[in-house]
C-alpha cells in the first residue's frame, strides 16, 4: 500500500459523486497545483482562479480518468492546460513551460518554482524548519517508523519487518509521530500570524 493507493480510494469515491473525497484530494494537491500554475500566471489572484478552475475541471472530467496514470499526473496536465488556455484567452504568452516529466518527477522532489515570492519562500522555509525540529525531538522509535514511511516510502508491512514489530504498532507509531509534529506546527501557527 502506498500514498497513491490513497488517491485511488479517494478518486473511486469521488467518481461516485462523493464530494468529501474530492475535497480531500483538493486539500492534498492544491499547494502543488498552485505552484505549477504560478509558473505560468504570475498574478497571485489570477493564479488562484486558475487553480480553482483546474480542480473544477478535473472533477467534471473525473469519469474519464481510468487510472492508467497516477491521479496527480492527470491532474497536473489539466492544470497546465488550464493555465495555458487562460493566458491564451488573455492574449498573453506563457512565460514558462512545464512538462509532464515535472509532474512525474515531483515525488523525487520538486525544484523551487521561479515564480515563488520571497514571502512564500520564507513561509515554506519556516514550516520546513519547524518540521525538521519536531522530527529531531521525536523519540527514536517514532522517528524511525515515520522516516521509513515518508522518506523510504515503505509500506506498513515492510516497516513492521524492518522494525520487527506488529503492523498495528507501526501504524500507531506513525500516527503518534504525526501528532507530535502537528502539535508543533499548530503551536507555530498560533504564535505567528503570517504562518499558516
Amino acid at each position: 500500500m502506498t500514498a497513491s493507493d490513497t488517491d485511488k480510494q479517494l478518486v473511486q469515491r469521488a467518481q461516485r459523486g462523493d464530494l468529501r473525497a474530492f475535497d480531500l484530494l483538493v486539500l492534498k494537491y492544491q499547494g502543488r497545483i498552485a505552484a505549477l500554475v504560478s509558473r505560468y500566471v504570475s498574478d497571485p489572484g489570477e493564479a488562484e482562479d486558475v487553480t480553482q478552475e483546474a480542480f473544477i475541471k478535473a472533477f467534471r472530467a473525473l469519469e474519464q480518468f481510468r487510472g492508467d496514470s497516477a491521479f496527480y499526473t492527470w491532474l497536473y496536465r489539466i492544470a497546465a492546460n488550464a493555465a495555458k488556455n487562460y493566458l491564451v484567452a488573455k492574449g498573453r504568452r506563457p512565460r514558462a513551460d512545464a512538462t509532464i516529466e515535472d509532474a512525474e518527477g515531483f515525488d523525487d522532489g520538486w525544484l523551487l518554482a521561479e515564480s515563488s515570492s520571497p514571502e512564500a519562500v520564507a513561509m515554506g522555509d519556516e514550516l520546513a524548519g519547524v518540521v525538521e525540529a519536531a522530527m529531531r525531538a521525536l523519540p527514536d522509535e517514532l522517528r524511525s517508523a515515520l522516516t521509513l514511511r515518508e522518506l523510504d516510502g515503505l509500506s506498513y508491512d515492510d516497516i513492521a519487518d524492518v522494525l520487527e514489530c506488529p503492523v498495528g504498532t507501526v501504524r500507531s507509531r506513525i500516527f503518534r509521530a504525526r501528532e507530535a509534529i502537528d502539535a508543533r506546527v499548530r503551536e507555530q501557527m498560533n504564535g505567528e500570524s503570517g504562518f499558516r
Binding site: 473525497a21 472530467a61 520546513a128 504525526r178
Partner: protein, 205 residues
C-alpha cells in the same frame, strides 16, 4: 482511545493508503462534522511535502472551499420554492449583467465563434433538462455537424470566459446565500439548483 483519536489515526493511515474501506467511510463522515479533522489533513499534507523535500513555495492558497461551493451549488436542490424563485431571479440578473460585461469587445482577443446569440437565460427545451444559455458558446442542443465547427481555439477562449463568469457568479451566489441564511427566519437550504453543467471535451490520460 477516544472516537476522535480513532478518527485521527484512521486519517493518518489514509494518508499512507493503509486505511480500510470502513475507516475511510468513517473519516469522511467525521470530516463533514469536524472541520478540525479537515484542517489536520491539510496541515499533514504540507508537513509531508516538507519531509519529502517537495518544496512548493507557492503562495498559501486554499481554493478548497470555493471548489466545494461551485460543485455543491451545481448539484444541490433547494427545498424552498420561494427561495428558489428569488435566487433564480438573481441568477438570471447576474448572468445577464455578467454577459453584458463580458460581451464588450476587448482589443487583442480574437472573436469567438458564436452558436447562440442569447444574452443569458435558462432556456427550457422540450423533453430535455434545462440548458443554460452561455456567452458565445454552445447553449442549445445542436447537431454533431454543427458542433464540429466550433471545436476550435476560439471556442476555448469563449469557454474560459464563460467559466470565469460562472465561477464568479457561484462565488457571489454562495456569499449571498450564506448571508441570507443568517438573516432569514425560515429554515431553508441556502443553495439552489442551477442547470447541469455538461462535461467538457475528454481529457486524455
Amino acid at each position: 482511545m477516544t472516537a476522535e483519536d480513532r478518527d485521527r489515526e484512521a486519517l493518518s493511515a489514509l494518508m499512507d493508503g493503509e486505511a480500510q474501506e470502513l475507516e475511510l467511510r468513517r473519516v469522511l463522515d467525521s470530516i463533514s462534522s469536524d472541520p478540525s479533522l479537515r484542517e489536520r489533513w491539510r496541515r499533514q499534507q504540507q508537513v509531508r511535502e516538507r519531509l519529502q523535500g517537495q518544496r512548493t513555495h507557492a503562495p498559501d492558497v486554499d481554493v478548497s472551499i470555493r471548489v466545494r461551493e461551485v460543485l455543491d451549488t451545481g448539484r444541490s436542490v433547494s427545498r424552498n420554492p420561494i427561495w428558489s424563485m428569488a435566487v433564480a431571479a438573481s441568477v438570471t440578473l447576474a448572468v445577464v449583467m455578467g454577459g453584458q460585461q463580458l460581451l464588450i469587445p476587448s482589443s487583442g482577443i480574437a472573436p469567438a465563434p458564436v452558436v447562440s446569440e442569447l444574452g443569458g437565460a435558462v432556456v427550457p427545451v422540450l423533453g430535455a433538462q434545462p440548458v443554460q444559455a452561455s456567452l458565445g458558446a454552445r447553449s442549445l442542443p445542436v447537431s454533431n455537424r454543427q458542433t464540429a465547427g466550433i471545436q476550435s481555439a476560439g471556442q476555448s477562449v469563449a469557454a474560459v470566459y464563460e467559466r470565469l463568469a460562472r465561477d464568479r457568479y457561484h462565488r457571489l451566489n454562495g456569499r449571498h446565500a450564506a448571508s441570507a441564511a443568517q438573516s432569514h427566519p425560515a429554515p431553508y437550504i441556502s443553495y439552489v439548483r442551477v442547470p447541469e453543467i455538461k462535461p467538457e471535451a475528454p481529457v486524455s490520460e
